[in-house]
Symmetry: C2
Subunit: 525 residues, 2 copies
Amino acid sequence: MIRILRLYKCGSPIVIIMNKHYLEKADINTPKLFETEIVSNQTVEIVPDESAFFGVRSVPVGTNREVFVGGDRFILDFGCHCVGYLSFRLRHDTAYLDAPVQLKLRFGETPYEMSRDYASYHGGLCASWLQEDTVSVDFPEIVKMPRRYCFRYLEVTVLKTPRPVRLTDFTVTCISSADWNKLEPLPAGTDPELIAIDRVAAKTLADCMQTAYEDGPKRDRRLWTGDLRLQALTDYYLFRNDRLARRCLYLFAACEEDGKFLPGCLYQKPSVFFDEGMGITDYAMLWTAALCDYFTHTGDEETTRDLFPVAKCQMDLACSRICEDGSFAFLGGWFSFIDWAKNIQQMLPCLGVILYAMEKMAALAASLGETECAAAWNEKLCKTRNNIYASFFDAERNCFIDTRSEKPQYSVQAQAWLILGGVITGETAQSVLKQCLASPDALKPVTPYMHHYVVEAMIKLDMKEEALAYIKSYWGSMIQNGADTFWEAYDPKNPELSPYGDVIINSFCHAWSCSPSYFIRKYFI
Amino acid sequence: MIRILRLYKCGSPIVIIMNKHYLEKADINTPKLFETEIVSNQTVEIVPDESAFFGVRSVPVGTNREVFVGGDRFILDFGCHCVGYLSFRLRHDTAYLDAPVQLKLRFGETPYEMSRDYASYHGGLCASWLQEDTVSVDFPEIVKMPRRYCFRYLEVTVLKTPRPVRLTDFTVTCISSADWNKLEPLPAGTDPELIAIDRVAAKTLADCMQTAYEDGPKRDRRLWTGDLRLQALTDYYLFRNDRLARRCLYLFAACEEDGKFLPGCLYQKPSVFFDEGMGITDYAMLWTAALCDYFTHTGDEETTRDLFPVAKCQMDLACSRICEDGSFAFLGGWFSFIDWAKNIQQMLPCLGVILYAMEKMAALAASLGETECAAAWNEKLCKTRNNIYASFFDAERNCFIDTRSEKPQYSVQAQAWLILGGVITGETAQSVLKQCLASPDALKPVTPYMHHYVVEAMIKLDMKEEALAYIKSYWGSMIQNGADTFWEAYDPKNPELSPYGDVIINSFCHAWSCSPSYFIRKYFI
């Protein structure tokens, strides 16, 4: 049932044990990739614009001329966000090209990236994520770039050419495992703002749908449990690629290790692999939630039963770390993510995630006839909710707060997640959430991912109107600020927001931002 | 019998008419490429050395370590000149590579190139010939570089990596259409200096033998008539790839245009093509000489008869431009090459080339029973020799010189070629050649190509001892000065010699330098 992968680490082989059955299941569910060709000869300039969110905008300057000499530079706009393979035609002009031609190709998802010199990057993540390559072409030919790029804008600089060179037919073969034919149009009469948000959300998800649900096709191009949960959930309402959801669930299941939470992310190439130090407690819980969603939306009992033992182990492991006082003892080496908000305290929101998943798992167990599990988890749920309330709810301040920590933190993240975890309900919960969202002192979410769970908490509390306004003001304003696809991180008041120290490394098509389509299609049509 | 290729020029189609039959013959004679793998983990440093020809030498510093971080740099020595495809293995070290790895690869044939920053290049040819590329690797894998490179030394710079990266298994898959199994070893007892020269010459030729006889695999990678003649001639004594010689003769024949000399060079990719402005009178004559050589060495009458009409037209065209006074009227747009010596006057040596080819063509015509041609050319030969002698031989100065030119030039090139053209013979010719070679005022050859014809003239004049000494002092000293393969341009007294303004753009494996093996194997064993 297991296979062993050998990889070299510091010169010595290391052994990773993976579940062969689950890997095979993941493998046979690898989805087909659809191809779409997009051609551009639309040249743009990036100009300063104080009224624009990032201070620049792209201005069309006409169709591209075809003949260039050394030092020439132009920016093409492909008109929409693209994930795929670039090709172009390189020919001689007045005379045969008697030496290689060297070009620099620089790709960006947004005009802002194009306005920046990538050499000025000052962020913390490796600069190699910035998409910039040189290519030497030995003969006139159709040049096919071997790497997959993610971009709307392409800057071409002719570094070296012996003679004038003719560059034409810039084409992207876009790839995605989303089948646009399966997408139902929204009903006639739907609020145009929602139609716009849904369209951008669908495009965001589609561009992240490859052989797995990637987090961002520009960066990191990995499958993360937390992103997977929102992607699959939204996909049930958009492209319905159940096969892809199934594959992703199996991929993580194959990585299960005794006494550990599932890895937070995994790589598909060169073969399925996960790295140490990527254990994320809340993400492991969301994998179990994703399995519950899968069963709800597909009814596929065979797969669900096949994966249930893994989900059970994960949930039992989480339960075992919940203390009598309602606090959570993180497993050594395992952290919690929750949101990219600075210095966020994670224990309270993480408890909320655990309870949220536990409630779904108890229901799933009951559906599958696993009555013992269902009973145990329901009991644990009830007890833990009470203990958390007793230990962490400050009735005077009307919020959850960990007063035992050095600097007790008042955060939307903790309130929203503990509401989703069912620790408080009804009007109490409504007032807690509203007060926290309105408080200038409270820590606020900065990622669309965490904003999703705020909206989910609102809907749970029958605050549908507020939820709709929230979606419009957050995701809607991202569109007004130029988003073709929804971004990894967004604070309408802070264009410099980046979890990594420099906005140009941010992913501007990020899967965890796609969930407005889920809300719109489930609740608002 | 003809086909039409359409190519675009300034946006409008241009038409090139090529001979279909000859193209097909060229095509079916495309040779097989042999592959040889060379692996290196030998690291070297390039250090200054005043005693070295180029002022630097390569010093081994041990086997390469395997793990590198951003900014690391190393130079590998593959131990011999290589033409082929580079691959290497890229893996993670202490942790999985969670971002692409970007490397710069810089290739050089000599330590001198490696000692220079290619950005400092100041020559006239396009800098894109300098072999330097960056590559971004998205996943740990065996990286196969798509371009063919020509080098002995490889500098790897780790531009960007998220974590320590393991780089191993640097391998070149060398390609050549030379079959080393066909090479006869020199007889036991052969002068070790000649053995060394023969070995370097054979390697030079082999590395230029691809799907055509290339001039230089680093630059220009084209088939030139002048180079072809020496390559094929030498190859009859080394690898005997008659098929390749046949292909190359056909390729040029396919390019014949009415009333024009054959193009001086042609390209094989994307399809067979020749460019305007590359008509070289002496080179066209050497194509006819190459056909005569082909018949002499292969006895392949069918091919020779098939190509004879083209050679006849070329020779008749040359004859028609020879004036009554023995001078030559260059066809508009056609120039002559002869040698890279600065400001060389070309008419006299070019006349020598024409007579040299005419004598061979007359003999070939006689062998094929083309008696009319043979008689006409023999008559023209005799008459032209007399006229040239009358017009251009200065008996007092004991040399050929064009006193009608503004600055009459005394050159080895003119003496050698007019001797090969049979205008003077015997002791007169010996004394003319010796005196010119010894004269400090005379223009001297700077290319191994022209040096070949000086040696050929010596052998024609029964100066075998001088010829041998000349080979040893010219080609032999190139080996002493570090040549793994013979160079495009070499003046033992001037390491800065470059026809293009900067030595690093010179080709250090250049086909027209391979002919010592021809002399050694034909005359000196």
